[in-house]
Amino acid sequence: MSGYLEGVLVLLAINVILAYAAFLPIVAGQLNLGIAGFMATGAYISAYLTNAHGWLPLPAALAATVLTAALGLVVAFPILRTRGIYLALATFAFGQVVVATILNLNVVGGASGYPVAAHLGFPVIAAIAVVVFAAIYWLFHTRFGLSVTAVSDDELVADQMGLSVRWLQTAAFTIGSAIAGLAGALQAHHFSYIEAQNFNVLLSIYVVLYVLLGGTQTIYGPLLGAAVFTLLPEVLRGSAQWRYVIFACLILALMTWRPQGVVTRSLLRRLFDWRRPAPEAAT
């Protein structure tokens, strides 16, 4: 496999993982604009464990995921007290604070970036992306998945039906942060160099855009969104700027004509399930 192709595929795998990091909170009705902050947390923890303590990259990435989840859980309590646009802004502010803090931590290189010695290759990263997707698939076929879907369809009704909306939202937020941390760790170990400045709010915004454009009604939406928007720029030759111009026009067109995103429940039903009128839990 050529180096170029491998680079693209690694990016695809990481973006797919990231898309699910944003997808979980969105399904539970929260727009997390701090994904980049959690990603940076995971990346730096994993890099630090391998560099300074000689851990192997896989256990380090796993530890980074767990620790990012813990961070997510801790901030979920104050952040989930806010709602709607306030919540989005709180996550945004949190992400900014995380990145700025890392920028001032000289033990991990501060503003000059942090080289990562331990390397993870494409096969491992691809395998982890598959595992993440499988885990999401499983999760959304459990009671938890059904409950979260109910919350996303109508929070009030879900609450009335006796679901603990607050617990579900905390869980979704925490799992989402953990996945973002994992993606960060993988990125650190593949590209061998991390810079706090790169984990900025635009990155968070792009991830959210993948998910919204792919569609949030089913678990296949983020997959498609991340795939299309990773591969499309590679297919569209020409300068990076023109690619983004086309990307932006595509978003506008989609929001105008297909605001629910590309993959919707009714689309899947029409494609794969047309004989059965009642939808299975397609989530």
């Binding site: 727009l31 306030y86 989005a88 604070v97 959210v208 700027q241 111009v245 026009c249 978003i251 929001m255």
Partner: protein
Amino acid sequence: MLAQQLVNGLMLGSVYALVAVAFTFTMGILKFLNFSIPGIFMIAGMFTWAMLKAGWSLPAVVVAVLALGAVLSWIVERFTWRRMRAGDHFIPLVSSMAFLILLENLVLVAWGSDQQRLVLPFQSASARVGDLVIGVPQLVGLALAVGVVWALDLVLRRTRIGRAVRSIAEDADTATLLGVSVGRVVPVVFVIGGVFTALAGVLFSLNYQQASPFMGEEVALKGISAMVIGGMGNIWGAILGGLVIGVVETAAIHWFGARAVDIWVYGLLLAILFVRPTGLLGGGLAGGRA
């Protein structure tokens, strides 16, 4: 020394304040975070640079750029708020982000990613009050900001269109029932917001004599923070929030170094969101109400 820092902070804050007013205006009325604002801010700055370079006179540049801001913002309305009425609540947010990406990259295509230096048609002047050095352009900017917000406040409270805007802010459906033509008033809101943003962009590029395709992001993030700190939807709050952010930023640089700025500014934002989400002056349009 401390007084000079305070002055510098207030001057920086006046730029944030204008952007914050643009954010808070659409936020207060339409309840949506308009991410095209940093894009329009940047376009205004870049066009100020380009037109001055092409030999336009300053008044002509200002008028042209403000008009451009108004037109762009009107186009944004067509693709964002207009669509929200039919579909999901996040559509305007996403579409306005798309406008930011679009505008930024169109500018990159046209002029490249370099930071451009403005050649001013006038001498940059500063006044001395005792030991304090005060930049005249900044002072004019601050006065202009307070002036236009005062005018906006007056329009909102005294005129027919102001009453319509406030009724939409309170409840768009009820306003429609009571005969307010929401579809006609909202574009006006966008045009006003666009002019404010463009004005901020012009003032910023003239004050700091620079423009770059990325100038919108940093200032807009601070503007959003200023909006929240002052109280979402409150235009005087936006001014106050902008000045607070400016002072906090210069103070953080003074005591903790440039790299620590974001910790303090966004830490403050986070603290306000947790402790007093309605901001210092309370949310609601034109002060006090709601």
